[in-house]
């Protein structure tokens, strides 16, 4: 019987064949933490171990509130810096124009690689599946234990297969597909499972689009989400030449692997849609929410802050003016610089957008664009839970970069196909 992706990667890491529901202990290839590295460091110190097991496998990336907006954040950052220095951790991205949102950095700096086992103290760590890695979010105490021992146990997950064919119509992108998908399978649709995206529909997508899909895996309960490491990805890894590990190997599920669930989608059927407040699976086609008044538009985050996303939004915003406050936050400084080179920053500024420095921005409600009571935002981020971006009486609609751009111009939720 064939193996799923999860069985192959975890088996390779364990050193023996494994099957779903078996418990294995493996050494993660990389473990990522962001500003919460500070509380993890405090827990680590309580364990009583002096040194971390593998300093070179730890990545620390400040992104949640950069530069520090309050002295409390500043103290937190300082604790991370001191821990990095004390433990000799080489992979540290401080408040400098080298950083960005942690998941974006992990992908663009060559940490995320096919066949690796990666963990992060952030639920959206599943993003690295776009690079063929088995990656999943873990808790802070767990992370402290990984730092100390270099090991972590996993239950080999059952798998879900999502077969995707066809191509998007104009005005539609990966975010529209994943929002529709989550609406269909609901927020717990893949609980504990490894989600594999298959098919030529995925192969036609850019790596950035695949990152959007895998990033949202956690929003329907997936343990990890992954796309096939195809030629497009391998070429990119080669072209970048910055792979941070030589342990990687392009692994993929066997044709005859066994899946707990299977779904089929044709991208040609997908239309623009949103997730309405206050649940990610509260899906509506754009037609049903068109005209809803918004107060803020947010373009950015680990879900949709890449150059490809900015290009799509700029295509709609060019020569137009926004009607509401529009916060644009490139996912990393590399993205920011590329956007500047391509003239996108000019387009955004001319349109009246505000361009913030890379970071998580308002996504989890502690920086750059908090909502007041009664305000509604349209956002390219990944969660619209009650109060996530500010006051508990505020409202978040999740949508694609194109939908956000089109809505920003009108000041109400709008169909991007009409703006093209």
């Amino acid at each position: 019987m064939g193996k799923t992706f999860a069985e192959k990667v975890l088996g390779r890491a364990a050193g023996y064949e494994v099957t779903a529901n078996q418990v294995v202990t493996v050494e993660p290839d990389f473990c990522m933490s962001h500003d919460n590295g500070a509380p993890i460091a405090r827990t680590f110190k309580k364990i009583g171990v002096t040194n971390v097991k593998y300093p070179e496998r730890i990545c620390l990336i400040l992104d949640h509130a950069v530069p520090a907006p309050t002295s409390d954040h500043a103290v937190n950052h300082k604790e991370v810096r001191e821990f990095v220095a004390a433990q000799g951790i080489p992979n540290f991205y401080d408040v400098k124009s080298e950083g960005g949102v942690c998941h974006q950095k992990m992908c663009e700096e060559g940490y995320a690689l096919p066949g690796l086992v990666m963990v992060g103290s952030d639920s959206h760590t599943c993003t690295y599946g776009a690079f063929g890695a088995f990656s999943t979010g873990i808790g802070r105490s767990e992370m402290a234990a990984v730092w100390a021992t270099g090991k972590l146990w996993f239950k080999v997950p059952e798998s879900m297969k999502v077969v995707v064919t066809g191509k998007f119509k104009p005005g539609v992108s990966a975010k529209d597909f994943i929002l529709k998908f989550i609406g269909d399978v609901r927020a717990d649709g893949a609980d504990y499972m490894s989600v594999e995206f298959h098919g030529e529909g995925i192969e036609n997508m850019s790596i950035a689009e695949r990152m959007t899909l895998c990033n949202m895996g956690i929003e329907f309960g997936a343990k990890n989400a992954v796309c096939k490491p195809d030629k497009k990805l391998l070429d990119l890894i080669k072209e970048r030449g910055n792979a941070k590990s030589d342990r990687w190997e392009a692994l993929w599920a066997d044709e005859d692997a066994v899946y707990a669930k299977e779904f089929h989608y044709d991208l040609g059927d997908i239309t623009p849609g949103v997730a309405k407040p206050h649940k990610v699976d509260n899906y509506s086609p754009i037609e049903e929410v068109k005209g809803t008044k918004i107060h803020e538009a947010f373009l950015g985050s680990c879900t949709n802050g890449r150059i490809e996303d900015l290009r799509l939004a700029a295509g709609i915003l060019k020569g137009k003016k926004v009607a509401v406050r529009t916060v644009v936050i490139p996912a990393s400084w590399i993205v920011y610089r590329q956007a500047m080179k391509e003239g996108l920053i000019d387009i955004f500024l001319d349109a009246g957008c505000i361009i913030c420095n890379p970071g998580c921005g308002p996504c989890m409600g502690n920086h750059e664009g908090i909502l007041a009571p009664g305000e509604a935002a349209i956002s390219t981020a990944n969660r619209n839970f009650k109060g996530r971006m500010g006051d508990k009486e505020s409202f978040i609609y999740l949508a694609s970069p194109m939908t956000v751009a089109a809505s920003a111009i009108k000041g109400e939720i709008s169909d991007p196909r009409e703006a093209l």
């Binding site: 530069p67 920053i345 908090i370």
Partner: protein, 426 residues
């Protein structure tokens, strides 16, 4: 006997002759608020006058969002919303939302400010608008709310101090250094309640950004209002933005040659060297060379004092002369004062060089100067900044800040410790 500029301005604003020491009621040209103080003023006005009450003239109100733009706390987000809704009800059109920048700078660029204008604002550095001859002053929320009632407010006609400046700055030295020198000389209370006229060849030949720097820091000596009547390039710039009337006003409101001053000081900048305000007071001044080598964790360039394009360009020249990279041990943050400045930095390629250098280039805002934004510091950290205050714990309890010029700040960022910019600009 002749009149000082402030006497002329207050006579024009009150409609009758005034003399020093008088309490006079002046017509207000602009009653402005930031997202700090704005909600307080609005709420006070509505509490005292009722929700239905109308402000005297919605076209003379303005609001600027720069304390936290974009907001990172629910309280500020709510305050911003209170302001937006008040403006909708009252028909106030001039709401410069989070995509504009630092209030005074935004209003200057928008052509709202003319010589002789009486401008109130919930910002103690409002008086930097004296750089174009306006009487602008920082006030609390009661002053703003009370002004909304009838468009008038009370002022004591201040004595005037005159500061004449001569000479040319040497390489690596700039207006910020002169200002730092004056603060060291006069102390935190050195201009208490006074109007201050800056004159002399150095001032007459100075650019708008230099005048802004000079005027912004008068607050740190407790001055009431700095005044420089526009001339030359500054006059041309202001006429383009604010209209032809500026020319007449600048001429009329210039102090008479025989005006009376309570004090006349003279400074020559020829031999001036780079200076810094050391922790924890703006008047704790030392030459940069004496503190050179001091370890630094963070450098910040921006603020209403030194966030203009020319300030950032001066820092850029130091960066490029120093090899184009900032020290890996220093967090360096540049915050342009307005979107116009930001856009110019992008279009002229400075922004790209900053990013290559390892610098965080933020959107326009007051940034760390208000402590509740980009670059708050942890206890034990040392920062260098072109902002205007380094009070105890201002940007984080237990942190300490050196204030300095953009050139010195960038030299420090490049070397990783406090550095005289002349060591790089050889």
């Amino acid at each position: 006997m002749g009149k000082t500029s402030i006497v002329k301005i207050m006579e024009r604003a009150s409609g009758h002759p005034v003399k020093v020491g008088d309490r006079v009621w002046c017509n207000i040209d602009w009653a402005t608020c930031r997202d700090f103080g704005g909600a307080n003023a609005v709420l006070l006005f509505e509490k005292e006058m009722g929700k239905e009450a109308k402000v005297w003239d919605p076209d003379k109100l303005a609001f600027t969002f720069d304390l936290q733009a974009p907001a990172h706390s629910e309280k500020v987000a709510t305050n911003q919303k209170i302001i937006r809704e008040f403006c909708k009800r009252q028909g106030v059109k001039r709401v410069f939302d989070i995509n504009h920048g630092i209030g005074q700078h935004v209003m200057l660029e928008a052509g709202m400010i003319k010589p002789g204008d009486v401008v109130l604002g919930t910002d103690s550095h409002m008086n930097l608008l004296g750089s174009v001859g306006a009487f602008a002053t920082g006030v609390g929320n009661s002053d703003i709310a009370a002004s909304y009632i009838a468009g008038k407010n009370w002022f004591r006609v201040p004595e005037t101090m005159k500061i004449e400046v001569t000479g040319k700055f040497k390489k690596g030295v700039c207006m910020r250094d002169l200002l730092t020198h004056i603060i060291g000389d006069l102390g935190a209370g050195g201009m208490d309640f006074l109007a201050v006229e800056f004159t002399g060849e150095t001032i007459e030949n100075s650019s708008l950004n230099e005048r802004i720097t000079l005027c912004s820091m008068v607050t740190e000596m407790s001055g009431k209002v700095p005044l420089i009547m526009p001339n030359g390039e500054v006059l041309k710039w202001l006429v383009e933005r604010a209209g032809p009337e500026v020319e007449k006003l600048a001429k009329e409101l210039k102090a008479d040659p025989d005006a009376e001053y309570c004090k006349v000081l003279h400074y020559d900048v020829t031999d001036l060297e780079p200076l810094a305000s050391c922790p924890d007071a703006p008047d704790n001044v030392k030459p940069v060379r004496e503190i050179a080598g001091t370890h630094v964790d963070q450098v910040h360039i921006g603020s209403c004092s030194n966030g203009r394009y020319e300030d950032i360009a001066a820092a850029h020249r130091v960066l490029m002369a120093g090899g184009g990279k900032v020290s890996p041990t220093v967090r360096t943050i540049i915050t342009p004062s307005t979107t116009e400045v930001q856009l110019r930095c992008v279009e002229e390629g400075l922004a790209a060089d900053f990013l290559k250098a390892g610098i965080v280039f933020t959107n326009p805002t007051c940034s760390l100067c208000t402590a509740e934004h980009y670059g708050a510091m942890p206890a034990g950290d040392v920062g260098c900044s072109t902002t205007n205050r380094n009070f105890i714990g201002k940007v984080g309890k237990g942190s300490h800040t050196y204030l300095m010029s953009p050139m010195t700040a960038m030299a420090t960022a490049v070397k990783g410790c406090i550095t005289d910019p002349r060591d790089i600009l050889k």
